[in-house]
Structures are given as structure tokens and as C-alpha cells.
Point group: C2
Chain length 384, copies 2
């Protein structure tokens, strides 16, 4: 198997991009990554996207984006795994290069969730859950996460404001990210006074609905010298695992088994221990997911993920910086694009392009992308 | 790159499966393929599907199907490339095995298009075209193909009944396929009297809206002896190419450039010439596509694809049997599943499991799956 490296990154700003359609947003990211890599064409384009069928009446999205970027005669396909679509597409791109089928592959994540002409974004997001056994009964996607958070608070006797530091950290970091949707720091008071949207989740626990796209260019590591790119970043591990789609089918709804399995696979592939990581872009779609991720990936004990945030371990200068460019909470969560944004941000950190949020001496970073309420979890470890 | 072989196939009947949901239809195919291969688990499941977001409010489909089949802790992702989703998923599965990431991969195609509770299937199918520059202006997917057919008839001075033999051949073969949606032979009179649905396309030119699923099991060729499967079939070539999504953007709407490019790549990979093929499962979603496919893949001269059918070359005992189990026209076209059905049927032919439609001495078969009106075209060549 050939080793795979990232030689270029690109991203659009995240936000309510009402003046741009999906293809235009995607183009910003794809063109940015191609320019960064110094390439003019590619062998394939894989696009991570969840909602283009539900919200913008556009399937066949990868071929659309390829054409808009002037890429013809290449392979193009969309990859979908709910909110983990971006990282799932990166997995496919990595396999395409590792196998030898392709030498230059672009992986983009793109999502257009706002200004969607009468479509119901909440109903769209609910397609990540089990349509017949969850969504049909009226539980929304936020509702499912609220049930998990409520249970966590009860089971471990955790107060509501225990989750505030995740949100405060994300907003502090997002304030320095010019591509973040929210570039304002918040404090504990903002969190405590935030309107509740599905008890106990408030809007400061929850990532926003938004538009955005991010992209990377992959080549075999043995060929990186052919390109004029900035410092290449190697994909040391790429792993995916699934769990039951419906939360009620799990033996323990407070344990992200798929995060555990995919991170364990990733640690083995990279030959590292969790403590060696310099940063972790985790999937903070809701603060409860941050706590559960820290537990399932081997950092915190069960029921104590929230303590990591309490103990100020998660800041840029902390033991394990998380959401270093704002995370899903502050940078934003354009669902099918998120997994690629996470990887782009790890690359920014490892190549000293993270600006005011630079993690000093970062050489090893992990990104973990969660689909649904923990049903599909994809983990990548990158290194320089 | 590791060589990849198919060691198991499965399929559901194609039709209006009102009593089964998408997961149940998919299970029939996945379980069938696993039983045929003699496996009890797998490393990954890739699902080709186009319309689950638009028609059944279910994204995250691969993880749903994996769970329903009892497959946990594995990789699961959906692959979408409009009507070429099935073959695009097979490409991903082949790369996963070829790269060495996985040893046992299931690829399924599934589509649920009927009994979809008030959803508009025609609007769903139009998401294969350019939403902003084609569908928004009211042209349906059938309409786009009708424009191409009209132009073909004008440009090459072809009479309407020139296309009848494609449909007659498909129905003759479908009559012997127990999984086909239509198991009745038709004659020229049926074709000539068929109601027109978008001039000049009549219902006998057009494949039906339906439900269905098909699946294959992939392993490295070097490992086939570990399994109790029937005769393995090797994937000798797997290639994909794209063209403009919108038909009006093409220099020549009567030339399937992506079919030409992907079949040329496939012939090179397999090291064969077109004439060596024993059968060709082409994408006869509309009869005009059969004619254009035969021209773009090197069999017929431009404007003469229809003559192949006229000259009785396409029957089971002909020079190049096509649609040997009924094709999209008679077996049916559950869009995201079709590419996998085609490959399953090539495997049936190469392993002497095609019943009354067996192509004698078949050793080399090609399957070509078309997304949109020719924008994404995926070609596989299989051999024993």
C-alpha cells in the first residue's frame, strides 16, 4: 500500500453564503487547494456531501463540481455518511491513491444548508437518523443528542454548566479564524444565559446550520517532491467504524463504540499512543459529543470527558488542544464539509499556518468526524 | 496494486416492492451475496444509491444497511453518482481491496423509488441533471434524453422504429430472468403502438421506475482459495470518466465522450480489444443510450449504433450479446442499484449461472453504467 500525503488545502469562509450556490462554494475550496498544491488537473475528485439531494435538488454533485472546476475525463463521485461524509470521502481518496489507481486526487467537502428555497433543513438533518424508527416518530437530530446529554448528566451527576468550557474554548479559537462563522469570544455568562433549544441543549452547546466547503489534494508520499507545494503532510492513519444507526439500539448510549474502534485502528496504523498527539480536531456538533469523544478515544475516563474542559487542558497551550480553529461550534458545521475542514485545519497546524491559534511544535494531529449520533465515525491521524 | 475478484453475488427481484422498505430490499441482496461467498462478516460495506435523500428521507444509508445485516465495527459509506452510483460504489470497493486497506468488501446497490409517500420520483430523477441550468427550466430527465434522441434521428436520418430491436431484445431476455420486473416478450407491433412519453421516446424506449438491490463480495484475487465460493470472477478493469453535467454544455450531444474515455481506459487495463468481449451489459435506460454506447465504446460507427440491433448482432447467440438478463428496460432500472445488477449479471454469465440466457463459452464481459445524460460513465471488465 502506498503512503498518501496532502500537498494542498483550500476552504471557503463558513456562514450563510446566500450569494453563492453549492458549486461556487465548492469551487472556492477546490481551486484554493489546487493552487496551494500547484496543480492544474487531477485524476479524480471525491466530494463529501450529505444534503444536496434533500435541500438543493442536486445529486450527481461531484460531477457538477468537477465540471465547474474545469476537470473533465476524470473520476468523480460523491460520498455520503451523514455528518461524517467529509472524512468518508477522504478515506475514499486515500484508498484511490494508496491502491495506485490514481496519482493526484482532490477530496472536497461541501454543504449548502441555508437559503434553500422552502426546504426543511431540520428534516434534512433528521435523515442522518433512522427514518422509520427515529425521525418518523418526531424526534429531531438535536432531540436525539439532547436525550443522550440528559442521560449523561443524570448518570454521572454532572451540572449543566459543566459543558460551558467546550463552547468557550471553541469561540475563543474561532475568534482568530478568518473563515469561522462566529468570530466572537463568549464567556460563561453567555453560555448560561443562552436559549435552550432541546432540553438540556442550548444554542451555545450546538453547532450552527451553515454553508461551506473545504478541500485537500492527495498524492503518493513518494511523489511529493514533484510538486511545488508547501510542506507536505502525511496521512499516518485512516480508519472508519460503524455502530447502530438508531441510538435506542445501543447497549450503552453513553459510549461511542465506533469512535473507540476507529481511533484504536488509527492509533495502531500510525503506531502511536493517544498521549503523543499534539492536537485533536474532535466533532463538537454538540458539547455532549465532545465529552463522549474524549472518553471513547482514550483521553478521559468514562463520565469524565467534561472534566478535561474544566481543567483547561483543551486550550491552544493545553495538554490536548481541541477545536483549534473554532471547531464545529464556532467555525461552523456545514455537515458534509466538516470532516474535510477538520483535516484542513490539522494541516494548517502541522505546517505552521494556524496564525494566532498555532499550536507550538505541533507534529501529530488527529481529526475525528462523527456521522449521525455516533453511528459512523472516521478517524485520521496526520503527521509531519 | 492487488488484483480484485468477486466471490459472491446476490440480488432482490426488481419491481414495485411495496411490502419492503429500502433496508429490507438491500438485505436480500447483501445476505444473498454473503451466503454465495460463504462469509459471515466483512471489513466494509459500500452502498451505491442515488435517491434515498430525495425519496425516502434516509441518508446515512450504508450504515443503516450494515446494521440491518448485522455488520458492526466496519467501514460503511454510500457512494452517489446519479444512475452510475452502483458502479461508482464498486469502484470504491475495488480500490479498498486493491489498496490493502480491506480484505473482504461488500458492495451493494439499492434504490427504493415506488411507494415513497408523496415524494415526486420525476423530480428526484431530475437531480441527476443540472438543477440550476436544466431542471429549474422544467426539462425532465426523460425530456433531456428525448432531445438527444430527436437530434440523433434528424442528424443521421434514422426512422423511429430503428430503435425497436433494442427493446425487443431486452424483453426477450428479461422473459427468462426470474428477477426481472417485466418477464414478457414484446414484438415490433408492441413497440410501434407504445404510448409516447416525451417525443420521440415511447414507454418501450424507456426503462421503468422500480425498486431493487444487488450486491457483490470482493476479495483480493490472491486470497480466493480461502473461500468456499463458486468460481471467482476477476475484475480485469475498473475505470470512470466524467463529462459536462448539462447536455447543452457538450460540444456534441450525440457523442458520449465519458463512455469513450472510460471504456478506452478499461480496454487498456484489461489488455483487450472490444472484439474480444463475449457480452456487454450496457446502460439501456433509453434505447437512444444503447445506440450511443455502442458507438462510443468502439463497436459501431457514429450514427450506426442502431444498426447493430437491426442486424441481430445483439441477441444471446449474436456477435455481441447485450442486456442479456433483460437490461435496464426489462430487468428494470432501480437507479442506484443498476450498476451492481449489471455486474452481478456479467458474473452470472461468466460462471454459467445465466439459465436459458446463458451466453455459450463466455469468458470476458463488460458492464457500463451511465450517470445522468452521459456525465459520469463507469466501465468494468470481468473475466474468468
Amino acid at each position: 500500500m502506498r503512503s498518501v500525503s496532502i500537498i494542498g488545502i483550500g476552504q471557503s469562509p463558513v456562514g450563510e453564503l446566500w450569494k453563492q450556490s453549492a458549486r461556487e462554494i465548492a469551487y472556492t475550496a477546490v481551486h484554493g487547494a489546487m493552487t496551494d498544491a500547484g496543480i492544474e488537473t487531477a485524476d479524480a475528485l471525491f466530494v463529501g456531501n450529505m444534503l444536496s439531494g434533500s435541500l438543493i435538488d442536486q445529486e450527481h454533485l461531484a460531477t457538477l463540481v468537477a465540471g465547474y472546476a474545469g476537470l473533465y475525463g476524470i473520476e468523480a463521485a460523491k460520498v455520503e455518511a451523514a455528518c461524517a461524509s467529509g472524512a468518508a470521502a477522504l478515506r475514499v481518496g486515500a484508498m484511490a491513491v494508496a491502491s495506485g489507481y490514481h496519482d493526484v486526487v482532490i477530496v472536497a467537502g461541501v454543504e449548502k444548508m441555508t437559503d434553500t428555497a422552502g426546504k426543511d433543513t431540520t428534516a434534512g438533518l433528521a435523515t442522518a437518523s433512522d427514518a422509520e424508527y427515529e425521525a418518523l416518530h418526531g424526534v429531531s437530530f438535536v432531540g436525539l443528542n439532547a436525550l443522550i446529554m440528559q442521560r449523561y448528566m443524570y448518570e454521572y451527576n454532572v451540572p449543566i454548566d459543566a459543558f460551558a468550557p467546550f463552547s468557550i474554548n471553541a469561540h475563543r479559537n474561532g475568534a482568530n479564524n478568518p473563515n469561522a462563522m462566529f468570530q466572537d469570544a463568549i464567556d460563561r455568562k453567555t453560555y448560561v444565559n443562552a436559549p435552550v433549544i432541546a432540553t438540556p441543549i442550548n444554542i451555545m452547546d450546538s453547532s450552527p446550520v451553515c454553508d461551506g466547503a473545504a478541500a485537500v489534494v492527495l498524492v503518493p508520499t513518494e511523489q511529493v517532491r514533484r510538486y511545488s507545494a508547501a510542506q507536505p503532510v502525511q496521512i499516518l492513519a485512516s480508519a472508519s467504524a460503524n455502530d447502530t444507526l438508531a441510538v435506542h439500539d445501543r447497549r450503552d448510549p453513553l459510549w461511542l463504540e465506533a469512535a473507540h474502534l476507529s481511533s484504536e485502528k488509527a492509533y495502531r496504523q500510525a503506531g502511536i499512543k493517544p498521549a503523543e498527539l499534539d492536537l485533536f480536531e474532535l466533532h463538537d456538533a454538540f458539547t455532549i459529543m465532545s465529552a463522549l469523544s474524549l472518553e471513547a478515544t482514550g483521553f478521559a475516563k468514562r463520565g469524565e470527558g467534561w472534566r478535561w474542559a474544566q481543567e483547561e487542558r483543551i486550550g491552544i497551550d493545553g495538554e490536548l488542544p481541541i477545536s483549534t480553529m473554532g471547531g464545529l461550534k464556532s467555525r461552523g458545521h456545514p455537515v458534509g464539509a466538516t470532516g474535510v475542514y477538520q483535516v484542513v485545519e490539522v494541516v494548517q497546524q502541522l505546517t505552521r499556518r494556524a496564525g494566532a491559534n498555532q499550536v507550538k511544535g505541533a507534529r501529530l494531529g488527529m481529526a475525528q468526524n462523527i456521522g449521525g449520533s455516533g453511528a459512523t465515525i472516521v478517524t485520521h491521524i496526520l503527521g509531519v
